[in-house]
Every structure is written in structure tokens, then in C-alpha cells.
Symmetry: C2
Subunit: 514 residues, 2 copies
């Protein structure tokens, strides 16, 4: 029997079955078969995307906004079929998947709002100054335009919110870029359902079919070929460091290099400052474990690294964390491969003579290292994707700062602090800003709000491009570039740039908003 | 005798003389000797830049604005000494150098204005929503921060405006990034004078000495080592395609890859549309030659490629261009190497049996190819840096569009058009937008206004990063990245993000300006 290789708004292609989704909890292969999209499907998706680009990018922002909202409506209309498939393929509980679905739909709505607000176009008008001396100034007008077709890689850990209709797809479609998604092979049925919903929205909105294509495949070759495709102009990826770096290397070697927005790995340091630790060490220990084990620790923002200064107060934290971890139930992980990698990482730490095992049970693990050992072994700063944490015991604040300085770039950095810690927090802030894209006080980094002010990004290797965020309103900026129009007459100018401002856009006139 | 290797606000280093500037007109070496900055100077510049970063970036925008203005004042105060050095080393006439000096100073002033206006910080505040269901929202605030120390490469063709105190330096300093400049070896004296002016401004502003360093050297190794330096976080470059790509490759291979903003090569197609050609073919031919030969054609935006449809009207253009080129005087070029490369390029075209030589004199050259020959030989789309143009004779509009489609990315694309050409222009616009960063009507691309709406950038290989501009207010964005602050209390937040808005910044509050 044939398996699905490719789909868009007008059709699909099938071919030999090469892989299946699995029921994550039981490990049993699910019945629906999928195949490996080949050069033909890839070519077709990119041909169509290129053909659709000019029509799609010329649509009014309102058309694209309504299209994004329609995708959300259609995702909700999939109802239990989608929730059940996502739960089965990911092993994530129903509540989480329902929450993620709401997040996905809200994300689409947010980008609809971004489109309507119009700031993404960054319209700037510098009118001509014919009398200026020594030379007149031309009429110069700037707007952003989309980069072109975008390749999006579904992420294993967010089968809805960072997958086929996730943040990368939503922001690229908002920008006016056709999207070619490579479905993550860990949730092909979920992907197919969402892909069909997007395809139906493309059709219902009267958009060209090339606006969206979904490719299936379980081998690295397909992803590499997609990034190498000359008609692809940018890439969105969330996944492993090895995977992200491989895509970056392919993109850099193209005849025309393209931006890759790869959100890769982070251990998201949490700094337990002395007064906070003293005031509520036990509570922090318990709350830490809740964050560490949430979703079986399978978050980019999982707090995998604790930095604390040695002392009695730290023991309260440890005891509470140990108790919480002892009570933490085993959880299904996304895939057998992810579970195996996590188990390997945990076993290596358990066997490392430089580390102390504070807890190591079915629900999660916590190890401890002294600062000198941590500094001596950079691999201790590597992420274990799963519910595994490392506490670095620092003899003093200077050592804590040294450890922080030695860290690679991170998505987040968290301070647990009280009033008496403020001076210390203030002193740490510049370093934290250089290390992370988001800094939290007295919270936990898991849980990434989709809003205007969010940054889900950070210095390398947290992401391949620290100038960007993959969550929140600014994510659209990844897929835009500015174009300047000099002395074009009103009728030739795009409507966004005409004097009468027919779209009612926010603009800078000679540098002044108005 | 020793030559200058390195300077900053507090001192300089000298070493063995390895190169001199040349009087471009006479080819005679100038007396002042310069040396090759080595690992010691590079290390020192980067140590100081790193040490200065947190202090410098924490200065109030007003401090940096005044600092930039002071640099401009000091450049003007150099008076004739600077103008004479720049004229001698570049061979550019006094009027041009004086104009470039004004542009350089205005550019510094513009970035002072950008700093004061505050939009560069992109402040976004999403206040907490403690009552939100199903989950409360944290308080989330975003601002841009600078990337870190920036390496800037002086360009040969703008010894002031794209060199030591040029657009890259001005925008990086405005962003809060310390700058390490590698002086272009074709104008070391000009560089030293401007570097001293910046150093004096650093000192007078009470800024840390590492805010600015200037390195001298004539070998590629120095530039490569600078880009490879782990403390350098971004690169600004204007120069050849080979040079820019070499720096991109070094940056991509770093343990922590960094953005390189390389403005490389372009032929800046000019489309002569039928009605305009008919109405004023001769005038266009004359004006074209004025732009082609301006500054001996040594502009990134030099109009090196003309696209026209065959016909009687085109002959008027050609005859006028030939006459203008015959009358064009020889001009001094920037360096002997640039002259030799230009002569080689012109000789190769003159010898190419697929090309017709329309003009080839001391003031400039113009060749013609039919569309089929152009399409058959992609090298005809390569830039000859100098006053050399190529006219592609297209049998019809479809062929012109094919030629356009075959072009690589460009800084500019120009339409010469009349009312009757509007429909055609409108149809060409989407393709022009995909090919270039700036689109002009009825002007010439040489002459790049420094303003809010300018884009001096474009798809690869015009630049290495089509998302950026190296001229105009948006150039500051190249050196920034966003950071989000979650639930930090008011006292810990940077002033830019506090509720009371002590800096009076423009902000987005829950997505709404206010």
C-alpha cells in the first residue's frame, strides 16, 4: 500500500511506505504509512512556491490575516481527531495538547493582528527636497517585502505549536512567504491533519496552491535537499544542535547563501541568589522540579542548569528537589530515540566521577558538580533533552560568575532573588544579557508567552541567529527585507507607500511617526 | 624608521614599515610609513574593546549622540590636512572629497538623531495579566541591545564616508558596540588622521579607550584574523566579492559564527523603457555616461548594465553615449591595482567576439551584447569596477525580462520611463524588487542619500545579508539583538523599560504605540 509523500491545497502524492508514526506510549507503529518525498515532490513544492510568491505577497495584509485566522478555525474544527493523533504520536497528555492547540491558534491570530497593525512593513517616507543645497534630495520611500519561499522544519517537541502550522509557518505566511514544510517524522499523522487544514484554507481563501506544501520523509537527505533548493530563501528550524548546524552549513555553501533560523540547544541557567535561597529554598526546590519535569523535560527552555553558592540554605533546596524528583512519575517521551538519548546522557553523568548524583529516578535526574569540575569539562554545559538537571555548587559569587562567563549562548537565564539580592542581581544583569535572549526573575523559563515583547532566541548556539526570535510578534521580521523606491510616481508606487496612505499604515515621515 | 601599526584614544604602536600610501595620481609612494599590525596589536584592540563593551553600551543614548557629533566636529577641524591627504591617496578631486567629508559628518549627525529618537531600541512592554485564564501572563518587556565589539573594514572607494569614521563605524558606535577598524591600505594617512580624531573624541567624552581602535596592515591575514577573533561579534565590510566572501567563510567557520555585513558587487541594471528612449534617447545617453564615469566609475552603485529593446530610438542613445565617452577625460583611479583590474576587464570585453565595442577611450568604455550572448555567458554580468558599461540589446520585452531574471542580486535597479511606459514598469516591478534593494525611476543610482528610507543593500551577491542596509538610519539595526525581561521589578529593569519611561522613549504597550 502507498504512503503519503506530499500534499497541498489541490492534491497529494503517494509512494512506497518507508515509515510510520508510533504510538509513543506503547511503542507500537500506527497503521497509516508514509513515504519519503523524493526530488520530484521537492521540485514540485518549490516550483509551486516560486510560482505563488508574487501573487501571494501582493495580497492585501487583510487577506493574509483572514487566511491565518481561517487556518486556526480549521485546526479547531479537526477536533478530537487532531488531539488524539497528537497525543498518540507525541505521548504528551491531552491537556497539554489541547493547550498547545490553543497556543497554535492564538499564534495565528496574533500574526493576523500583526498584519493588520502594519508596523511590520516599516514604512518610511523621506519626501523630495528639490531646493536643498548643495544637492536636491530625491523622494525616497521604504517598505519591507518578503524574502521568498521559506522552508520550515516541524519540531518533535511541539507537534502543533512548532510544527506544520506553528510559529515559523505562521510568521512566514504572515510575511508573504510561501512555505514548504518538512513534517517531523515523529508525528506524521498530526502533520497530515494540520497540513490538510492549511490546504483547505489556501483553497477557501482563493490563494495559489503553492502558498503551502507539506513534505513527508524520515531521512536527513530530504531536509538537506530542501535547504539547498535555490528557490528556498530562508529556513526555520527547531531541533537539535547537530541538526541545526548541518542545515546552516548547507545554507552557507549554496551559490546564494540564505538565512537559517535554527533554534537549537540551551541549558537555561537558573541562578539561585542567596536571600531567595534562604527565604524559600525548599519551595524553590519543589518548583524547580516541576519546571524540570514538565512535559518530560522536553522543552527548549527546560531549566537544565542551576548555579548556586554553597551553604546551608542550598541544602534545603536540594532536599526538596530530591523529594520532588523521587515522587515524580515516569513520563512517556516523544520518541524512543529521544528517550534513549536522554538515558545515555543521564547514565554518562551518573558514571562521571566528578559529579554527585542527587536524584536519578524514573521521573528525572539531578546531578551536582563543583564549579571547578564544571569549568574543567565544557561538555557538562551540554543539553540533555529530557528531565535532567545539573547543579553547579560554587564556592562564592566570583566562581558563579566564572561559570556563567564560561557558558555558551542560552535562550533564557533566570534569577531567583529577594530584595536583599538586588545589588547582586543588578551586577549580574549585563552578563546575563550577553548570554541569553530572555531574562526572568522569580519564575521558570518553561512557558513561552506569545506576545509582542517575547524573545525566544539568544546567542549561538541557542540559536543560529541571535538577532531573531522564533516566538512572538517580532518573528515575522526574520522573513522580510527592506526595499527603497526612489522617485517612483504615485501610481507606480506600491499602495503602502503612496501619499494618501490607502491602507492606513503607521509610517515614518522624514523620521517622524505620522 | 618605524611605521604606525595601531592607534586608539590613549596611544599608538609602531613597528617595522611594510607599506606606504601612494599618491594616486603620480603613483609615487608617500613618505609616511605604516606597518603590519600583528597578533599583539589585534589582541590588544580586542581586549580593550571587550573591556569597554559593558561600560560603553550602558551610556545613555545622549552621551553616544554627543560623542558621534564630536567626532564630526573633530573631522571638520582637521581641515585641509585631511582633505589633502584624502585627495592625494585616493586621486579623487577636492570637490568630491569635501562632499564626502560633509556626508561623513552628516552621517554621524544622523545617527545621533537616531539615538535621540529612540526607535532603535524597539521597546515593547506587555504588562502582566494576573487574572488571565487559563494562565496568567507574566510581565514581558523587550529592548534591543548591541551585539558586542564590531570589526569594520575601510573601503577603498570612500576614504571618508565608508572608512574609519564611515557608515559602518557610525552605526556600530551608535548601537553601543565598540569598533575595531582595519584601515584600508590605500589610504593609511587619511585613516590615521580620522582615527586620531575619533580617539580624541573618545577621550574628550570620557569613554573607555577600547571603544575604538584602528589597525593598519596591507596583508589579508590581518583582516582574516580580525574576523576570526572570538570577541568580535559582527563585521562591516565594503569591497570586492572575493574579499567579502572570504570574510563570510571565516565568520561561518568560527566556533561562534557571527553576522558579516559585506557589501560586495553589483552592476546595477538600468532599464531604458521604450517611450522614454523615444522621447529623450540622446539626453539619456549623455546622462548615463555622466553617471558611469562619475568618480571614475568607482561606485558600488555604478550603472554598469543597460537593458534596452532594439530599435531606432536606441541608436540615439548609443550615439550620444559614444560622443560623451569620447569626450570623457581620463581620470585618476584609486590605486594602481584597481586601474589594472579595470583595464584587464575592459580588454577582455574588447576582445570578446560576442561583444561589440561601442566606445573604449581613456574616460570609459561601453560594450554591447545581444540578449542571447549575455544569457549564454554569465560572466558578462560580473562587475568591472570602473567606468565600463555593457548594453544588452534585447529583441523584445520578453528577452529583456529573461535577462533580468538571469541577473544575480543587485544594489539598485533603475527604470527610465515615461507615462506610456507605466504599464510595462508596473509589470517589471515585482521582478525588480526581487533583484535589488533600491529601485529608481528616471534617475541614476550613483548618489546614495543618507536618510531614514535609504536601502543600500540587496540580494546576494550585492550584499551578504539582504535583510540589511549599510547606509541610512536602518543601518544601526545590523548591530542589535533583542532581549526580553520577564517579571523583573522596576528597580532592576533597565531605565528604557521602566514604567515611568525616564528616557521618554517611543514604546509599544501591549502592541499599541504609546
Amino acid at each position: 500500500m502507498d504512503g503519503l509523500l506530499w500534499l497541498n491545497s489541490t492534491g497529494m502524492a503517494n509512494g512506497p511506505v518507508t515509515f510510520h508514526g508510533y504510538d509513543a506510549a506503547s511503542g507500537v507503529a500506527r497503521p497509516r504509512g508514509f513515504g519519503e518525498a523524493g526530488p520530484g515532490e521537492l521540485q514540485r513544492a518549490c516550483d509551486l512556491a516560486e510560482a505563488a510568491f508574487n501573487t501571494y505577497r501582493a495580497t492585501l495584509p487583510e487577506i493574509r490575516a483572514a487566511f491565518l485566522e481561517d487556518i486556526g478555525t480549521r485546526i479547531m474544527a479537526l477536533g478530537d481527531a487532531l488531539v488524539n493523533a497528537a497525543c498518540a504520536e507525541s505521548g504528551l497528555p491531552r491537556g497539554r495538547i489541547e493547550g498547545e492547540r490553543a497556543r497554535t491558534v492564538n499564534q495565528l491570530k496574533m500574526f493576523a493582528g500583526v498584519l493588520r497593525a502594519g508596523r511590520w512593513l516599516d514604512v518610511r517616507i523621506d519626501p523630495s527636497l528639490p531646493e536643498r543645497q548643495p544637492l536636491p534630495r530625491s523622494d525616497l520611500r521604504l517598505r519591507n517585502i518578503p524574502l521568498g519561499p521559506v522552508a520550515v522544519f516541524g519540531a518533535s517537541n511541539f507537534p502543533l505549536a512548532f510544527s506544520v502550522a506553528g510559529g515559523d509557518t505562521a510568521s512566514a505566511l504572515a510575511a508573504g512567504c510561501p512555505v514548504v514544510v518538512k513534517a517531523h517524522p515523529a508525528h506524521p499523522e498530526t502533520s497530515a491533519l494540520v497540513g490538510e487544514a492549511i490546504g483547505a484554507a489556501v483553497k477557501a481563501s482563493g490563494l495559489p496552491e503553492g502558498v503551502f506544501s507539506l513534505l513527508f520523509g524520515a531521512r536527513h537527505e530530504l531536509g538537506g535537499a530542501l535547504v539547498a533548493e535555490p528557490r528556498i530563501k530562508a529556513v526555520g528550524f527547531t531541533g537539535s544542535r547537530a541538526g541545526g548546524l548541518a542545515l546552516c552549513a548547507i545554507a552557507a555553501k549554496r551559490r546564494e547563501p540564505i538565512p537559517v533560523y535554527a533554534e537549537m540547544s540551551a541549558v537555561n541557567p537558573v541562578l539561585l541568589l542567596p536571600a531567595a535561597l534562604k527565604a524559600r529554598g525548599a519551595a524553590l526546590g519543589k518548583a524547580f522540579v516541576a519546571s524540570l519535569t514538565m512535559g518530560a523535560g522536553q522543552f527548549c527552555t527546560n531549566p537544565g542548569l542551576l548555579l548556586a553558592v554553597e551553604g546551608e540554605e542550598l541544602e534545603d533546596f536540594i532536599v526538596a528537589a530530591q523529594a520532588a524528583l523521587a515522587a515524580a512519575p515516569a513520563q512517556t517521551m516523544l520518541t524512543a530515540g529521544i528517550r534513549a538519548a536522554c538515558e545515555r546522557g543521564v547514565a554518562a553523568r551518573a558514571a562521571d566521577p566528578a559529579l554527585t548524583t542527587l536524584a536519578n529516578g524514573p521521573g528525572g535526574a539531578l546531578f551536582a558538580a563543583d564549579a571547578a569540575s564544571f569549568l574543567a569539562n565544557p561538555a557538562l554545559g551540554d543539553e540533555i533533552f529530557g528531565p535532567a538537571g545539573l547543579l553547579v555548587r560554587c564556592p562564592d559569587e566570583a566562581a558563579r560568575q566564572q561559570v556563567l562567563e564560561a557558558l555558551e549562548g542560552q535562550l533564557t537565564a533566570t534569577l531567583h532573588m529577594d530584595e536583599a539580592d538586588r545589588e547582586l542581581a543588578h551586577a549580574l544583569l549585563p552578563l546575563l544579557e550577553q548570554k541569553a535572549g530572555r531574562i526572568l526573575a522569580n519564575g521558570w523559563p518553561t512557558g513561552v508567552e506569545v506576545c509582542n515583547g517575547m524573545v525566544h532566541g539568544g546567542p549561538f548556539p541557542a540559536t543560529s541567529d541571535a538577532r531573531s526570535t522564533s516566538v512572538g510578534a517580532k518573528a515575522i521580521e526574520r522573513f522580510l527585507r527592506p526595499v527603497c523606491y526612489q522617485d517612483l510616481d504615485q501610481a507606480l508606487l506600491p499602495p503602502e507607500l503612496r501619499d494618501e496612505n490607502p491602507l492606513g499604515l503607521p509610517r515614518l515621515l522624514d523620521g517622524v511617526p505620522g
